[in-house]
Symmetry: D2
């Protein structure tokens, strides 16, 4: 009933606040025998962490992850895996001015109302800091999916404010601080962000993530459809306000004869569906897009109320991303990996073994 | 691990195929003492059922729901509620031609691959027929939410192909077969649908649903955020390819100073967030939008393969909706009711009772 | 969070009261391709149902089960399976006298206090009538376990009041109305029950159940250990007050050198553990014993209170078992089948596929 | 699906091996506002930890627990609580001789078979070391239950081998290293244990735990009955082979007229049921008993096989408890606290609010 776990068969349970002693989590359900070390997870943590470029927050988070259990002599043992990242650069005095008032557009007000009290330091549990553990856990899933099934998960920025990315070259994505897969847009992004930073304002973004080599058959209808679980995962990332699979909202004006992906002996003729049919993976690339709102932690003054309900105003100081969407790229990858991993295990448990028509996944693994 | 249950505290578990003996389900977790009878559920079932207008499928589904348990002397007892709807008009011979080939854009291919066999009659479990039980269960949730908390849930068509709805008058929605809340668009819709039907093709749609009077505090971060669970619910409706909360994909080009909803002593000054902040309801209206793809059951011939992987073609005969999006309106309402109901119970269990700052919901109920 | 579901991977969710329209349930998670029909389930239902001998209640329950979904052309499809048993012989007037007072030793008082109201007809949801659906669902699990893994599940009466069963011959168990595996005790049982019935009183019993050919490796430590899940299942059967695995309470006085089951190249040298080590099946027979209390529905008058808390007395009329323990035999078998089935799926999902040391179960199926 | 979580509404998820870097866990679902610090948990950890007397293992575990999150300014915040205990005295060389052979009566064989590999150091995940985190988490539950509802949970040794405890004085229990509540038995216990230790053998034990002031109404039939969940919790403790509620196996020979607890205007006249009727707490004391097997880690040589299946023998050296049952007392208390806490939240969520007959618990809290 509580909400800090994700996944039914490959489950992560997380804890930790922005300015507490540490953040951490438990992975339960990782199959035994997978070669695993901290080094497998650190790469994505470094991609996510702030302070890596002048466009993201200057706060230094030393996201060094420790694997506390579940691995013996370099391999997973099938028991639960404890993950820990200590909080280092906390500087909590920066946040004193938000202890008694609610930042508009933040979780301050709703946490206070829901729980009757809140850890206001840096947003407490509602801080994006918490997503570091998702990235670490997603790294374990990525490793398994890649090693066992050849699944490749790649995210990228597809729009930042008015700058629309037009070409996707996965080789370009990780060569720039925007996770932009289109080299021809880098200058426009740089220019836009410079001006934005000067204005003290922030901007929204669109992020996309693709999974290739996904076997057909993942997804448990009618409620835990693969697309439904992906939507749950993505809408659960801080700041996400919209999720699309395949053609997404474009389908509103499409005709059936145009939208349907015809089948041929060589495979599907198109991929409007984004790799999911009837809630089950089709074997095509899974394509997901999401919209991320502009952060409300800006230096443009705004109206709000204090904890006593009186009118006041607020200027968020401290170090904040002008575009939180950028850093969502590795988070979105991690969440997609977690969903796929969960469904690989669920499918395998439920479907292997009866009759001759054993599905793909069981055969592959 | 299997996927036919929805909700953690107010749980529905469903069964049934398009052409089996019956569809049904179990509601587990309904609080005791709620006045309830079949009549409370039948209204929405009638709104959902096909054959009510010339724009939806002519198939007559006599969606008469029976409550088999959990109600005694007109009130819920707190025990599980069995729901049953018998299948009547089955005419399974219509579907014989799809036994050996896969309809493009359907779940035929993925079900076959996942399970190694499938009930091809009318789509089997993947048929939208299954959603009738969601609507019945949602009716129980709606009744509770309305009775106990005054929550009102209203869905409507917001776009159908090129026809964009511009005004929302909830009084208009249920007076026309399109669930269109804008009287000025009825003629355009009628015209468009006539032409479409003649062409044998289908069209996508956008559907919206709003919940009013929602108390602040619903949602269980960091994973079972209210918005994440809504996205899961909506993306799990057949044909949905995109979900938005509040401003949705419009946030990509918004600035922080524009997007953030300022707080005043009289409440929020705007509602770009769509009623959810940090994954928790803010007390504002919850606004959700979703995109529904055009059905692939059309009479325009298409290419496909048969179960042996050989190229063939297909024309879907039988009675099908040219726009499945229309009938999704009561389904979307039901799913939103189920999510809210689940979170009312979850919040109440987890948060009542400690200290003086008891949250809203516990106070109200 | 609500409690009418059992199992995480092979899940049953049940509904229904003693005197409602029907009882029923949903099996979610049954693998596809299993040959299945009502006939597979009816045998155990007939063994459980009352009225089959003069020692059990004379109430005629025509426990005819219907499979409403999830089976197509004689095989399971992998989708959820709806089960329904209509209530026929309800005679609710018999129970009028317990509407306003609580039977001592029954759930009457606790249901009233928990829910604030109760369906008093025949015990409502707390009636053993509900277990018929467990038996039906257990029948599906039994079929799978037998067909796919050769697992055999056999229950029997091991003690009834002072009559202790001394020999277990599974061939004898189902030839007598006591499920007694020891032919030499049938006369003593018959005599004891005759006298008991005359006295209007009831008696407790001990029931045992064994599973043979269970593969090594089932169980998910540290909380969902196989033995823990078995204890959950058995203690959840009406009237059960104690559960033992293997030597059970005898271990209190055993020494380590006596209790430990030594391993030899030909297998274990003994089975004090009852087939479970460290919460995981060892490949030996799983042996479970349980104690069932004497029913409180007796014609010996007793003191109680009414719904207003005033002192009164009660005599339970109607048709009741003098020893409810007897009928628990097929229920215990069903529950053990459900636990094993659940763990077969869980183990298979979680453990197949990595490295060369693929566990037994994956190899077998 | 994986098994390292316990509880549905107040959930703990644990990780950690005997000789890894640390053991730890996450509590999810603790209500906000509860005063909490490490000091609240340390007392029970000290009671559980070995090395406190000459009768338990001499291994020094410095079980110092850290609360890493979920508490702010001395109160719980409603977010997840991270717990960590570092492993200090690991001495893993002691265990080298069991790397290639299976200790009879241990989880060595089943872990190896299930997962294909195992962390053999000190039993890895199957070590009782893991229960320290259960005790810490149980401490949080105990604190809430005591503070909010006045519930008192007290365990004690009720039998050790042939020494049967005859009087229960809770004031005596914690004054001796046996958790023995009967001062007149201390000498007999001391004598027995001395002789046992000299023999190099081990002995079983019976442990009991009682909860007082439990409100009526806890338990979610028909599967998550309070007694069923207690049985699950207790049978899930290492070495437990039997669980009883109330009169337990004595009911086998009881008559209905003797067993039923009559109700009077002043309460129940007896407590054969052990505080649970129909799976729901009755408001009487909850009485639970369990049987713990003698540990197999003894210096008496035994036959076994090695990982290649060849016959060999084994003598377990190192520091081991001659009676593991003794230390189970605080663990059993913790598990009962976790079950009750879970059901308090579940009951409150599911039952508050409708109609005038609001149940007890909602009124109290």
């Amino acid at each position: 009933m509580p909400g800090n776990s994700f996944g039914k068969a490959f489950t992560i349970t997380t804890f930790g606040e922005s300015h507490g002693l540490a953040i951490g989590g438990v992975i339960d359900g990782c199959p035994p025998g997978l070669p695993l070390s901290e080094a497998d997870l650190q790469g994505d943590l470094d991609r996510r962490k702030p302070g890596t470029s002048r466009y993201t927050t200057a706060r230094r988070e030393d996201d060094e992850v420790q694997i506390l259990s579940g691995v013996f002599e370099g391999k997973t043992t099938g028991t639960s895996i404890g993950l820990l990242i200590k909080n280092k650069d906390q500087r909590s005095k920066d946040y004193g001015n938000i202890a008694d008032r609610f930042r508009p557009g933040h979780a301050d007000y709703t946490y206070q109302q829901k729980y009757g009290l809140r850890d206001y330091r840096g947003g407490g549990r509602s801080s994006a800091r918490e997503t570091a553990i998702r990235v670490a856990a997603g790294g374990v899933a990525k490793k398994y999916l890649k090693t066992m099934l050849g699944i490749e998960i790649r995210g990228y920025l597809s729009q930042l404010g008015p700058v629309v990315i037009e070409q996707v070259d996965h080789g370009v994505t990780n060569t720039n601080p925007f996770f932009c897969p289109d080299a021809s847009k880098l200058e426009a992004l740089d220019e836009y962000m410079r001006a934005l930073k000067k204005s003290g304002d922030s901007i929204g973004a669109k992020v996309s993530v693709t999974a290739s080599n996904v076997p057909v058959g993942l997804g448990e209808p009618v409620f835990d459809r693969l697309d439904a679980d992906i939507a749950h995962a993505m809408m659960g990332i801080n700041a996400v306000k919209g999720v699309e699979i395949g053609d997404g909202f474009d389908v509103v004006t499409q005709r059936g004869s145009e939208h349907r992906d015809e089948l041929t002996p060589d495979g599907f003729a198109s991929n409007h569906a984004g790799g999911v049919l009837g809630g089950i993976s089709s074997g095509q690339d899974i394509n997901v897009h999401m919209a991320l709102k502009p952060t409300s932690s800006i230096s443009v003054p705004g109206n709000t109320i204090n904890v006593d309900g009186e009118a006041t105003d607020i200027v968020t100081k401290g170090r904040h991303d002008p575009c939180v969407g950028i850093r969502a790229v590795p988070i979105a990858e991690a969440m997609l990996a977690l969903v796929l991993m969960d469904h690989v295990i669920r499918h395998r448990g439920q479907n292997a073994g009866v009759g001759s028509s054993t599905p793909d996944i069981a055969r592959q693994s």
